[in-house]
């Protein structure tokens, strides 16, 4: 099962995006686990998820976190600001799955 973790400053607005992504996954019958957490929980969850997506408000942390993720062959990417604001669950889910596939 694919595991996706969304991170933002408190995991608050990201939880709404997670909800929309779960709905999209259910619709597409894709089995995956999607969670939202605050940035400080990145390190303790690095081994538990396949891909890490950042909310636009923590975009400035990408390079720092991606360096750590790369050491274990994982990716940290930033969610497109427009998709995030419009809560495009399906598009963000596709983006995450594509990153895992790479």
């Amino acid at each position: 099962m694919k595991k996706i973790l969304l991170l933002c400053s408190a995991g608050m607005s990201t939880s709404i995006v997670v909800k929309k992504m779960r709905e999209a996954a259910e619709k597409k019958e894709i089995e995956c686990e999607i969670e939202a957490m605050g940035l400080e929980q990145f390190h303790s969850n690095l081994d538990k998820y396949d891909v890490f997506l950042l909310g636009p408000q923590v975009r400035f942390k990408k390079d720092e976190l991606n360096t750590l993720a790369k050491e274990v062959n994982k990716t940290v990417e930033v969610i497109n600001s427009m998709d995030y604001g419009m809560m495009k669950g399906e598009k963000i889910l596709d983006f995450a799955l594509e990153l895992i596939g790479k």
């Binding site: 408190a10 608050m12 607005s13 909310g55 636009p56 975009r59 604001g85 419009m86 809560m87």
Partner: protein, 99 residues
């Protein structure tokens, strides 16, 4: 004006979080790279976020008798993101002048 539903408010305030959040990130990246060029984009985004926010403030002010915008945590979070973006952009602008 009738009261906004929770869903309408979330749809309205999420873009503020995204725009203000991006603006904040751009400003912090500008500081890290010691490069002012991104700041105009950050200010533009903040202005757009302000535009959306303004729409709700106006709606609330126009109706003296009813609550049009009922506060929730997402709105509080959007306000928080907007305020910190504004502060950070102003600070980064000054910092880049003095360092």
């Amino acid at each position: 004006m009738s009261k906004f539903t929770k869903e309408e408010l979330i749809e309205g305030f999420m873009p503020i979080i995204a725009m203000a959040g991006t603006a904040k990130s751009i400003a912090l990246e500008a500081l890290r790279n010691k490069d002012k060029s991104g700041l105009s984009e950050a200010k533009q985004l903040l202005l757009e976020a302000h535009g959306v926010h303004h729409k709700y403030v106006t709606a609330e002010c126009e109706d003296d008798d009813n609550v049009v915008v009922e506060l929730n945590l997402i709105i509080a979070h959007a306000e928080d993101q907007y305020m910190s973006a504004e502060t950070i952009i102003s600070l980064v602008e000054i910092l880049l002048d003095v360092i």
